[in-house]
Amino acid sequence: MSNAIDQTRRMLSLVTYLRERPGARVDEVARAFGVTEAELIGDLNVLPLCGTSFRGGDLLDIDTDGEHIWWHNPDTAEDVAQPLRLAADEATALLVAARAVANLPGLREGDRQALQRAAAKLEAAAGEAAGASGRLSVTFESEGSVFATVDRALTERRRLWMRYYSPARDTLTEREVDPIRLFAVGHTYVEGWCRLSEDMRTFRLDRVAEIRLLDAPSDPPRIEPRDLSQGLVQPSGDDPEVVIEVGPGGRWVAEYYPHDSAEEQPDGGLRITLRTPDPGSLRRLALRLGRDGRIVSPPDLADGAREAAVRALAAYGE
């Protein structure tokens, strides 16, 4: 569902598009505009109510039989059907994204060059609207050689072997993975079917210690990919609950760990409640926090961290 401004933007472009393409197909126009056919028909119902003259009359005579779109009086609207300049928001959105992706380490050279050429042409066409785009920048962290290997596996539909670091257990494990997609949100990840855990898994590229392309074909089961718009970590309601109390110096925990709640405490700290399928993975967090915070529950996790600290201190004679 888009708002009035976005619909207006789309209808203005539609006028330009339709003028050049008499009898355009509804399905093709919807695809080119990135909307459903129903949304497009909604726009086509509004356009005939729009006039091009302040003197009245001259309504856009646009109609559709549900399959093709016809505009019967385009000559009354020559000035409104010209291609429209880009807004600052529009130029910024495309340019910042294109530059960010073009700088992804490991991206195929052909893809990088296409992005750079497209950005340069767009910048020239956008003129002053492009000016502010340089004030915004985005860096995706990636491991170039790992990225390139995964990318090749995806293209050639081949299985991957990797040695992967799991911070939760501080161990390296060997796995075979049938890759499905690469995605970047700050860091870059490969999602795929892990044959060791027999499940869909996400691997962060900078935690891949070693990677090889296997001759075996990639054969992941057909599973609907996860919707990542809700975040990378999506704890389930059945996962065990962990309560962490932090002082002001540990408030960053709430920025890094998705949580159910973070209650303000009188000392400026927070009481954070979160869910995780593997509470043991938070032992590291408890050790890192030091005097800035502590695990309240579950008790065995709190005990585990305490015991690890005692054992660590023993090495210094304490």
Partner: protein
Amino acid sequence: MAIAKAERLMNLALCLMNTRRPVSKRELRASIEAYHEVTSDESFNRMFERDKDDLRELGLVIDTVESIDGEFGYLARRDRNRLPDIALDPEEAAALALAAKVWQQARLAEAASGALQKLRAAGVPYEDANSALEPRIPAPEPAFEALMLATRERRAVAFDYRKANAAHPEPRLLEPWALECWRGHWYVAGHDRDRGAVRVFRLSRITGRVKVRGGFTAEVPDHVDVRETVARWAGEGATAVTARIRLRRDSGYPLRARAVATTPVDAEWDELEVPYGHGLDAWLAEFGPDVVVLAPEELRADLLDRLRAVAKG
């Protein structure tokens, strides 16, 4: 039923684009049906101003011309609103289709789609972003949009900011120069008026609303490197100083990956020399009994301090 806003905006845009002479507000009010529904002058004026702002956000350049009798007229000149010719080959078109899917921030995501629509209407071929690569730029921080606009329009901003380890937020006054997203978090750099110096802020630590406070006073440098500053806080800037640690065999892979030297000690332990940047003590604490700090003494003391706090529970 009231006439939908999109229909009203569309009629206003078409009238302003299709005229060769400035059209007065009176004429526009008389000719656009949606404005007939507004009875008071005051609400019409408010609606008209908002509508013009909305169209400008879409990129329409609307000129205001004052006539001899003091009345204002408006028009969107053909030459000022035309997209210059742009010819993209299929690879370039596919590259932009990919770029258009990257933003997850509502305003820029819609703007990206709108840009692609304008380009396709102008003849850029339809190409799908057919790629197994999905880059995403999130910007869930509420302060993002206001700061983006202030950066673009060169406006100073006031906001409350809670430093990483502060109990309470403090008011700050900033001339924002640049926004940068690193590891999924947004930062803003600019001239901090109260401190008279360049400062970097993390957007997620801005509390409450961002308010505009007039124009810039300090000169904006050509290049603003936000990432370098942030990376240094994260302990990742280039550092010549190293620390010596003992690490249990087969553990601590990321430490090994960063080590400048690794020497086996016995069957159980290795000795590593690792870069000593900000936050190393906290990171080493995570490895518990698998790490022993040998030098420097300062790092050893910081680590022991952390471990003792955890051991006390």
